[in-house]
């Protein structure tokens, strides 16, 4: 069997051996709206992080491209899974950004043995460089309107991090969501990494940008939520990594969403517009509508979408 050229971690190719000071890992895989990947990539670009290496892809991914030149198979191209690093004055950072989740045919999210192996490989590299904290990022599908600023749902993997998370800007915990009782699921590797990190004693937090529930099935990126995640990460890390590319992507994204929204029937738009006035989190101050109004709107929306499904 061909042996991988490894640098300390089996199944990983590292091109460099930088000395990093207790780096923070920011890892992300694609998911709904590609919120996490767009956020992580925007930070990486803004900080001009250098390529560190990659996970050998063939055990995880089906190739995405064949290259034939003059009738000879020159190579196969696999989805990228790349590590980057950046030393800054305040914090050293490691990035892991994946182009796909390792899924069986037809799946969107990784699960099972390969997902577990990949999560462990990412953490192997992080721990090799002395990582002290990991962040993943994904999407939080929520009854919100696209004209609202997306908030960020945060899920830590240790209860001792809850107080810290409460101090993050524009961020809510699962227990802040009505009816959730602090419970929920994070599908795929953005969630699994939290669990594996917990098993291995590493602190980790998943930051999920809100995406309107009516956009989740449309397979469109939602950089507006990525922007909210980037703002939170900037605050946590004490850096100011603003990306003009991301701002431009947010503008393009908003235009695209408005175009899609305009294609909904007036009946649907009327229902969805009610989301502008609804808050599904527990509030301490009276809002523009009463609790009874809010309950009715959410019930109506629920009935409306169920009716559409039927």
């Amino acid at each position: 069997m061909p042996q991988s050229k490894v640098t300390g971690v089996m199944g990983v190719r590292l091109r460099k051996e930088p000395v990093l000071n207790s780096p923070v890992l920011i890892a992300s895989w694609p998911g709904i709206g590609n919120i996490g990947v767009i956020a992580a990539d925007a930070l990486r670009k803004a900080l001009e992080a250098e390529q560190l290496g990659e996970i050998e892809p063939w055990d995880f991914f089906y190739p995405k491209k064949i290259l034939v030149r003059n009738g000879v198979l020159e190579g196969l191209e696999f989805p990228s899974n790349t590590f980057y690093f950046r030393k800054t004055e305040k914090v050293d950072l490691l990035f892991f950004i994946a182009e796909e989740q390792p899924t069986p045919v037809g799946g969107m999210y990784a699960e099972g043995k390969r997902a577990y192996q990949m999560a462990n490989l990412v953490l192997d590299v992080a721990l090799k460089f002395g990582c002290r904290r990991a962040y993943t990022s994904g999407a939080a599908v929520a009854p919100v309107h696209h004209t609202m600023k997306p908030r960020v749902w945060a899920v830590p993997n240790q209860s001792k991090l809850i107080d810290e998370v409460k101090g993050y800007p524009n961020t809510i915990l699962m227990s802040d969501l009505e009816g959730r009782l602090g419970r929920g699921n994070i599908t795929g590797l953005n969630g699994l990494l939290l669990g594996v990190a917990r098993k291995r004693g590493l602190e980790a937090v998943c930051l999920m940008g809100e995406i309107p529930m009516y956009l989740q099935g449309l397979s469109v990126p939602y950089p507006k939520a990525s922007h909210s995640v980037v703002e939170v990460l900037n605050a946590i890390l004490g850096i100011d990594a603003t990306s003009e590319d991301l701002v431009a992507a947010v503008e393009r994204g908003e235009k695209r969403v408005e175009e899609l929204y305009a294609k909904f029937s007036p009946e649907i738009r009327e229902q969805l517009d009610k989301l502008r006035y609804v808050s599904y989190t527990r509030s301490t101050e009276p809002g523009p509508i009463t609790e009874e109004d809010k309950r009715k709107i959410l019930e109506e929306l629920d009935k409306f979408f169920k009716g559409k499904e039927d």
Binding site: P63, V68, N70, G71, V72, L73
Partner: protein
């Protein structure tokens, strides 16, 4: 990470410096299945190993095809007199690389395979009355030069179009190349309307090449009888359905069919073949 061996060996194949020939189940025109089946029968091949399906296929039940329950298959056959190892298998649903690794491991470790050929069908807009074309993708420049003796070397470039993925044969060839096993992918054109049924005429092309390459002395009479049977079925389909005849005539005149016509022709032929089989 240690993983258990995903295959079972039933007997020592008794091959050395062999060549591995790979055909996939349910490929276009069923070329892979037909070719491996024909070779195994002609060369008195014996099943000596198989890959266990549990790691590679969802086993939540069985699928039923043509009224028969199907089950994933991945079998190796050894043909001692001709020093060939044949593999016939379904396309896995996951763990692709490990599956391909297992194929090559069995071929290398137990049969000392030095060469590999994959066989597959490629959809074509040519009618069934036109000769089938075969071309090869070589795994290395040396292999390309070797194939030129058989008129199979091409000078074309190809990149997988956006939104599509490479074939499992290409993935296997790439892995074989990494292991230092010379190989090539043999691709034969299959009229698109025969892709879902069968095209023994397309199967004959790679079989002819392998017969020459390995001096197998294959008797083609049974295959030729099948080709005649399929041609007869197609002739009857044309004579009973003027629309089918019209579409095929258009193809024979090098005229393009509209998308709806392409779909209609494929559906009508599939339906006709199924009815005739009953």
């Amino acid at each position: 990470m240690l993983e258990r061996q995903p295959y079972k060996l039933y007997m020592e194949p008794g091959l050395s410096d062999s060549c591995l020939i790979v055909g996939w189940a349910k490929d276009g025109g069923r070329i892979g299945s037909k070719l491996v089946e024909y070779l195994a029968r002609e060369l008195r091949g014996h099943c000596f190993a198989e890959i266990e399906p549990v790691d590679f296929f969802p086993l939540g039940g069985v699928t039923v095809e043509d009224d028969v329950a199907e089950f994933p298959e991945a079998r190796f056959y050894c043909c001692r007199d001709s020093n060939l190892v044949l593999f016939h298998g379904d396309l896995p649903a996951c763990e692709w690389h490990r599956y391909l690794d297992s194929i090559l491991e069995v071929a290398q470790q137990y049969c000392n395979a030095r060469e590999i050929y994959t066989v597959g069908g490629m959809f074509s807009l040519s009618p069934h009355t036109a000769p089938r074309q075969m071309f090869a993708i070589a795994g290395s420049p040396d292999m390309k030069q070797y194939l030129s003796r058989y008129g199979l070397a091409g000078d074309f470039d190809h990149d997988t179009p956006p939104g599509q993925r490479p074939t499992l044969s290409s993935f296997l060839l790439w892995e074989a190349n990494r292991r230092g096993v010379a190989g090539a992918g043999l691709w034969t054109s299959v009229p698109f309307y025969l892709a879902a049924v069968e095209d023994p005429a397309a199967c004959r092309k790679p079989l002819e090449f392998l017969n020459t390459r390995f001096k197998l002395g294959i008797d083609f009479s049974e295959l030729d009888a099948e080709i005649a049977r399929v041609n007869d079925l197609l002739a009857r389909a044309r004579s009973t359905d003027p629309q089918v005849d019209g579409y095929v005539q258009k193809l024979e005149s090098n005229l393009a069919l509209a998308e709806q016509e392409l779909e209609a022709l494929a559906a009508k032929i599939e339906d006709y073949f199924k009815r005739e089989r009953l």
